[in-house]
Every structure is written in C-alpha cells, then in structure tokens.
Amino acid sequence: MSLARATLLYEWRRFLPGLLSVAFAGVLMLVQLGLLLGMFGTVTVLVDRSGANLWVTSPETESFDQSRDIPANLGALLRLHPEVTRSETMLVHDADWRSGDGTRVAVSLVGLQPAADALACPQPMRDALCARLAEPSTVVVDRGEADKLHAVIGRLAEVNGHRVRVVGLSKGLRSIGNTYVFASAQTARELSEPSATGEDLTTFVLAKTRDGTPEGARDDLQSLLRRPAYRVWTAREFSMNSQQWWLTESGVGAGFLFSSLLGLIIGTVITSQTLRGVILSTLREYATFRAIGVPAAKLSAVVLEQSLWIGVLGAVLTVIVSILANALAQALYVPLVLTWWAVLTAVLIGLFTAMISGLLALRELYRLEPAELLR
C-alpha cells in the first residue's frame, strides 16, 4: 500500500472537498456545454433531421432562423441537375397561435409536404405525423411545447385567426426561438399572410442528390444561382454554419467559456488548498523523511499521486453525475447533448486541474526545513 493511497483512504474526508470541486467543475462544464449544444441543436433541428442534403436559402442567410423568402420555383431549377433526384420546399413563417382557452403565443409555422417520405419531414415525424397533416387545417406541435401552447390532441386552436386542429405531438423538435407548429405546405400557405406580389414564395428549397456526396451538385448549382444570388448549402454546412453563428455572434459562446473557466479556476483553487491542507497536517512527518534524507522529489511524487487519484475519482464522479443529469434532461424534454468528446475533454481537464493543484501545493514541501523539527 503506497503512502499516497493509504492516506487518501484513511483521511478521505480531508480530500473530499478537492475531489468534489474537481467533479463539480467537470459537471458544470459538461452540463453547460450539453445545454449549449442542445440549444444550438434546436437551431438546426429541422436541417439535421430532414432527408434533404442540399438547401437553398436567401443570400444573406447565416443561420437557419434568419432566412427570408425565396421563389418556390427554384425547385424546378434544382431538379435539372442530373445528381438531384427530388426537391421540395419548406416554409417557415412567424404566426400567432391562440389556443382554445385564449392563450396567445408567437410561433413559427412550418409548412412541408404531408407525406411520410417527404424530404422536409423531420425524422421523428416520419412514422405517422407528416402523413396525418395531409388533412386540411391540421397541425402538429412538439410534446415539449404542448404545455406552453395549451395544445391537446384533437383540440382546436387558431393560427393567424384561422381555425386548426392538433392531430399529433412530435418529440424532440423544440426550437431555439418561437415554437414550431407543423402543417402541410397547403395549410401553411392558407394560414400565412398572402405575399404582396402574389409570387409563390417559400423559405427554403430542399433537394436530395443521388449519392451521399452533394458537394459537386452544390458547386454547380451555386454557380448557376449566382444572379439572382441565392445561397446553396449542403445540409451539413448549413447546420454547422448556423451553430457557429450562434456560438460566435450571439454571445452565448463567450458566456459559456467564461463560466467554464470560472468553474475551473475555482476547482483548481479548492483542490490545491485541499492538498495543501493535507500536506500541512502531515508536515512533521514529511520533514522527518526529509531529515532521513529522502529527496523532496520523492515526497512530491506522493502528493502528485494523491492529486492524480483526486483527478481520476473526480472525473469518474463527473461522468456519473453528467449521465444522471442527461437522463433528467431527457425526461424533462430539455435539449441537452452529451457527446463522448465533450466527456473525454471534461475528464482530461479534470485530471489536468487536479495535477496543477498538486503542483501548486508542492511549494509547502520544498519550503520544508527538517532542522525546524529540532526547535
């Protein structure tokens, strides 16, 4: 049994604050990152869950929630490309929701092809819900937002003053902004305010290419659509760009970095103080071994082994708590995304924090004068 482990086990209460602070810093970081990714995921949920791999937007669009209307007939142009097999439109317009009991909520009305295999139909709705929208004046809303909208299956509501009926509740299709209300393209057009020019407009034109590599088709179509300018994206690009925009331009990313950094600093300070306290409490013993002639480096190894253990145990605790937090979030329909790379990063940062704390605490050992035992 090494001195480091024996002391850890015997005086675990002393080490607990350090361990907890490492774990806490890790959980703080992971949950924040998870919420952030979850939140950004909601920005692009309709892109990520759709069957399309090419998206056409208005030229100034940087994020999914920013696109302005474009002509719906661009789809016909897209279909001329030999790689493109299908194209569709997706309409996303702001609308006014009014539930049966008079609650008013601003929503985003999403119009799509009411078919199970529609490109625009997001994955969790493909089983049944999209097809159900073929019935005129029907809508689907997300389970996680149903309370807010006072929506119940079968119950009536109003969108922009037109009566609609809720025919289903989707799962995992929450929005970062206004709640999504899904309807067929036909229904959505009827519920929207008509365009001033009478031109057939939509928000996005989607397409699917023959194989899984739409980059070639994108380049061709982009050069074709230079004037009038539209932006052609692969689904992946569009999703990444939207999330990146939210991360960098919205200030949310900076907030995350700041609070994570704060958590790490607090974790390091508490852990190093914990280790320092342990060293100070056994300073005479360490001094005795310095007197015997054991080099300070060998005693430092004891402290560093302890910090490593704190890091490892703290990381394990981080992972356990994060998994529990994830389960809780799923149960509450809170979009939280826990990725393996985020967990790995948190574990490594936890270990790093603990080791830095150990190194900071070593000062006490190197300051030690064994002759002071003889005072």
Binding site: L3, T7, Y10, A291, I292, G293, V294, P370, L374
Partner: protein, 261 residues
C-alpha cells in the same frame, strides 16, 4: 581520554559556531564547540532551553549548516558535501527520532517502519520482513497492524525508533524522545536506545532535559549558553568526566574556558 585511545570517534566536531539572526539582532547559539562521540555509547546532551543543545544536534546530524566549524561523521566531513550528497549520506548512515513521533496517521506500524525502505526502492515483501524484524526488536511484535491512533505514546515512540533503525544507521539522533511520555514509557524508550547503542554498535546522541534518563547514559554532556559546562561518564572510569570536560574546553576558545565552572 582512555576511550579515544582504544576506538576512533564516530563523530568529531570542532570549532562549531552558529547563531540566529543577523547583525545587531544576532543571537549566538554555539560558541566554538568541539566534541567527539564514540560508537556503542548513548550520550545525553542536557541543558536548559536556549542552551544550544537542539541546534548542536541539528548541526551534528547534518540538518543545519553551521556558520563555521566542521563535523566529521564516520570520517566524512559532512559540511563539505553538497546538499544532494548530504541527503544521500543521511539516508545511508543516520537515524532520527523526534519528540512528536511524527508518524503518518494513515499507516500501520509495519507500514511506518517499512516506508524509508519503500523510498529506497526496496521490494515490498523484503521491506515488510525487515520492518517486522525491527518492530520485534523494539518489542512491538503484537502491535504491527495498528495505526498511530490505536497506539500509546510509548508505543508510538518505539515505532518511530524502529523506523529509525530500519536502515541500520551507524548514528542515531534523538531529540527529546521522552518528553511526551510518562516515566514508565520514558524508561522503556531510553533503555531501548541504550540497548541499540550496545547491540548495533551505534552512536546514539539524545537531547533531553529529562533528569530521569541519566541512569541509562554512558555519557552526559551539559550545555549552557552554547558551551559545554560538564562532560561526565556517570558509570564509567572515575575522573574521566573532569578530564574530558577540560579536554573539550581546551580545544575551544578563550571565552569557553572562561565560562567553565
């Protein structure tokens, strides 16, 4: 000095000067002290607090570099060694026992004693065997699995002595080893230190202000204001005390002679 004729001293210090503080605030602690110690003997260094006995022990044991003077420990001028060499020298030849035992709370008696070997890279099983033998020697064979919290003061000090013995040191330095103990335990501990001096042929130097210990010492050195005022052998050759004391003082400076009683 019959003794020095027969056996060479294991420790020989000369012209030790040390003080704390600087300039006008300097408090001198050791005044041109010269002393010799021989193997197989337990020497008690006694004196009031501030007499310089602990500082002397620190200088003799290689823990505190004196301002001037030299210490030859086992024929090695230790204060000419580098810090690293001195560490290695202490590790190979010196044992230390302190007033407060200084045992790690988390370790069992066996683990405490084996720890120096652990740092020396000795294999676990071998370290354990040697630790058990050392604990047996100090009479703790029945207490090997206990932690400091489960041991009495006397037992703790014996564990500390076993730990000091584990490297088979030629010299053993003890600082007030009995001051935290009752008389019965003090008796056990000092008798043990004396026995170690005999059986291991070790040089044992014990700093104490405890008069109960004098019966167990081959030699008693009394210090006052950083000078030796008495150097006697209570059970040894008669007249040795005075001649030794005089001899020690003669190698010192004028004022050490002046302070001689």
């Amino acid at each position: 000095m019959n003794r020095s004729d027969a056996i060479a001293p294991s420790i020989s210090a000369s012209g030790l000067v040390h003080g704390y503080g600087k300039g006008a605030a300097r408090t001198p602690v050791l005044h041109q002290l010269s002393l010799q110690f021989w193997p197989g003997e337990l020497s008690l260094m006694m004196g009031a607090s501030g007499s310089g006995k602990s500082t002397l022990l620190a200088v003799l044991s290689g823990l505190l570099r004196p301002e001037s003077g030299s210490v030859n420990l086992l024929d090695t001028p230790i204060w000419n060694l580098t810090e690293r060499e001195l560490e290695r020298f202490r590790f190979q030849h010196c044992g230390y026992v302190f007033q407060n035992f200084n045992l790690f709370p988390a370790l069992t008696a066996t683990e405490q004693v084996a720890l120096p070997l652990h740092f020396a890279g000795v294999r676990e099983t071998q370290a354990r065997q040697r630790a058990e033998a050392a604990l047996d020697e100090v009479g703790l064979s029945g207490r090997m699995g206990l932690r400091p919290a489960q041991l009495s003061g006397g037992e703790k000090q014996r564990v500390a002595i076993a730990r000091a013995l584990i490297g088979s040191p030629k010299v053993l330095f003890a600082d007030e080893p009995t001051s935290a103990l009752d008389s019965a335990n003090s008796e056990i501990v000092i008798a043990l230190l004396q026995k170690i001096a005999k059986t291991h042929g070790a040089t044992v130097i014990t700093v104490t202000h405890d008069p109960r210990l004098t019966g167990h010492a081959e030699r008693i050195i009394r210090l006052q204001d950083g000078m030796v005022i008495e150097d006697s052998r209570p059970n040894g050759t008669d007249g040795a005390a005075l001649s030794l004391a005089a001899g020690t003082a003669a190698t010192g400076t004028q004022h050490s002679t002046g302070n001689h009683p």
